[in-house]
């Protein structure tokens, strides 16, 4: 059932998100608990990165990871064909979906045809992107997220704030509150161990009932038709071994050629994602259970989603397809660290989200047009990326792509600016003039409001009226 590429109509950004990007950002900046939680998470990740660099040679591994992924994307059509053939050879079924709607239709139809009432899911950004839960629920099927972080968010009716650590914006007390509400009792412990144990027991009931397990795919290995699912908790293994049917949803760019490629990517992924040299569990699945085996699903379906990805090949944005969704660029980004992923209004946040959300949405989408501006272009994301995607360059290009005639004014302003700076005399006059201006304008050493085009700048920050600033 392969279909020709069409422009995705569904879109990636959440349709029901409230407020503008600017409003959400300002609101997030005012949430002190959120900022503390994000900062805690990002600094523990950053400390771990130092260890990965020092003790595990992570920096030396990047160049090869980049080479592998660029080659994979170049060979993508052939690799997908090989993957598809090998999954079928192993007794699995493969579906190519042009967009999210098509993928959702297939999976929902399958669940209905097999009489599935409960679905157990493990963490998957692709299913979040295509909004599969909503589609299944609309057909009366109960969907339970079994990754601890995703389950917390599902109970709290929240969106993920990080692609690897979705509930990273919540602290232990907030989680306990959410669990108490769900269980309808105060009898839920406050400590981390107790909370994890509580979730374990509740979710085992789901595994006992589920007729279908749905997982994502970190990478697909074309040479054997194997899907690799990386996790720490063990829930993905339960999802892929307990229910009678396993559906794996994979973004079309996630395929590598062979086990040489896979070994390298499987090593660098946990390093970048969680600052560990191995994830606890890596599940390598090739088709359904075989003759004579007494557990594992009887049916295996691989759903490969295009969703606007194929159209990026051969464009100046092709390299975003190398992404292995490790989340490192998020943690490294001062912008993400200040506001968290929810403000972005897309399942993909941080630098990579700011680039790919508008690309997958199409250029005219008002929901995501401003996202490429969620960056100070400090360059940290480019250094963090394990597959060497030039994220800062792509952010600049994404800005250019988003700029419409509305931003002509800024083009004129920048032209004037450059004329001013290029000549020594005008530069010096400008500097002296500016110093005078801010000194007159400032109170207590700080300028809190600039007129005209500068107003946007001072809305969320102050400017020192003299240098060095006085605190």
């Amino acid at each position: 059932m392969s279909t020709r590429r069409q422009r995705s109509a569904g879109g990636v950004a959440y349709p029901d998100i409230k407020g503008t990007l600017h409003e959400r950002t300002v609101q997030a900046l005012g949430d002190q608990t959120l900022r503390t939680n994000l900062e805690t998470a990002a600094s523990s990740w950053a400390a771990g990165q130092e260890v990965m660099r020092r003790d595990h040679g992570m920096d030396e591994m990047r160049a090869r990871a980049r080479e592998i992924r660029r080659r994979n994307i170049r060979d993508l059509p052939a690799l997908l064909g090989e993957m598809q053939a090998n999954v079928r050879k192993a007794g699995g079924q493969v579906v190519r979906a042009a967009d999210g709607a098509e993928a959702c239709r297939y999976i929902t139809g399958l669940a209905q045809a097999r009489g599935v009432t409960v679905v157990a899911k493990s963490k998957s950004m692709a299913t979040e992107e295509i909004r599969l839960n909503e589609a299944l629920e609309a057909s009366g099927i109960e969907v339970v997220e079994t990754d601890l972080g995703e389950w917390i968010l599902q109970l709290a009716h929240q969106r993920p704030s990080h692609i690897i650590a979705p509930a990273v914006h919540l602290n232990r007390g907030q989680v306990a509150e959410i669990f108490r509400r769900e269980a309808g009792t105060d009898d839920v412990p406050d400590d981390r161990e107790g909370l994890v144990a509580h979730a374990r027991v509740r979710l085992r009931e789901t595994f006992a009932q589920a007729g279908m397990g749905i997982s994502g795919v970190n990478i697909g290995v074309a040479s054997t038709g194997t899907v690799c699912i990386v996790e720490n908790e063990g829930n993905a293994r339960l999802v892929t071994s307990q229910p009678r049917i396993h559906v794996a949803v994979m973004g079309m760019e996630r395929v590598v050629a062979d086990w040489d490629d896979a070994a390298h990517i499987l090593q660098i992924l946990p390093m970048a994602a969680i600052s560990q040299d191995a994830a606890n569990y890596v599940n390598l699945i090739t088709g359904p259970r075989r003759e004579g085996e007494s557990d594992g699903p009887e049916e295996f379906h691989l759903v490969i989603v295009d969703g606007g990805r194929g159209a990026l090949r051969g464009t100046e944005f092709e390299e975003v397809l190398s992404c292995i969704r490790c989340g490192a660029c998020l943690y490294s980004c001062p912008m993400w660290r200040s506001v968290g992923g929810q403000a972005y209004g897309s399942p993909y946040s941080g630098p990579i989200g700011a680039i790919i959300t508008p690309l997958l949405e199409g250029p005219s989408s008002p929901a995501s047009r401003d996202l490429p501006f969620m960056s100070s272009l400090c360059g940290a994301c480019g250094d963090a990326c394990p597959v060497g995607i030039p994220l800062p360059d792509l952010l600049v290009r994404a800005r250019a792509r988003a700029s419409s005639p509305a931003t002509r004014k800024s083009a004129v302003a920048f032209r004037a600016w450059s004329l001013l700076l290029r000549r020594g005399l005008t530069y010096r006059v400008g500097v002296v003039g500016w110093r005078l201006f801010v000194r007159v304008r400032g109170t207590d050493g700080w300028v809190t409001r600039l007129p005209g085009g500068g107003a946007g700048w001072t809305r969320v920050r102050d400017m020192p009226a003299r240098w060095p600033p006085r605190r």
Partner: protein, 192 residues
């Protein structure tokens, strides 16, 4: 699988990596393996053990050793229902036993292959996970282990699990907490 001579270097490296992954391990002789494993389980308070159908388990006669310690033995594949396999019914202190096809010294990773005698989920459905590892199955790197498992030209196993320590979650406050969905403890008995 080509037998590699047991090298002290690989053995020491594996033990160190397992410790780093908060798994425990012991190195025993073939003759002592059954008894030592049963003793470890008894000390851990295990009430029931689920054993794969595997020549290594038969060779060390693990079933008999466990029964002597008063531990109930269930042979895989089992007639237990799904709820009982998941620990929702029956004793809570269940130990899933596995026999890894390979182990990766530099990362403390066990390679578990599904087959008629080995379940896909014994190490995650159970409270405890004990792996019985013949020492000659230790290799240095993950790349080597994957090449041996998959680059054979023949049919590959339906499911291979790379297991690197007990289950954990860092979803609450980024602090690692053990026993999220899978086993709370992992113990590797290295048999030489």
């Amino acid at each position: 699988m080509a037998a590699t001579p047991v090298s002290d270097h690989l053995l020491d490296a594996l033990v160190a990596s397992l410790t780093r992954r908060t798994a425990t391990s012991q190195v025993v002789d073939d003759a002592d393996a059954g008894r030592a494993t049963a003793r470890w389980m008894a000390d851990a308070g295990v009430a029931r053990a689920v054993l794969p159908r595997d020549p290594v388990i038969a060779r060390i006669d693990l079933g008999a050793a466990l029964r002597r310690e008063g531990i109930e033995v269930i042979d895989w594949p089992t007639s237990l229902g799904r709820r009982e396999v998941l620990g929702l019914e029956g004793p809570e202190a269940v130990c899933g036993v596995t026999v890894p096809a390979l182990a990766v010294a530099e990362r403390g990773t066990l390679v578990l292959e599904a087959s008629p005698g080995h379940g896909r989920g014994l190490d995650v459905t159970s409270r405890h996970h004990v792996a019985i590892l013949p020492a000659e199955r230790i290799v240095e790197t993950l790349a080597e282990a994957l090449a041996r498992t998959f680059a054979t030209g023949g049919p590959v196993p339906s499911a291979v699990s790379l297991v690197s320590g007990p289950s954990r979650s860092s979803d609450i406050e980024k602090i690692s907490t053990l026993g999220a969905h899978g086993a709370v403890s992992e113990h590797v008995v290295i048999v030489r």
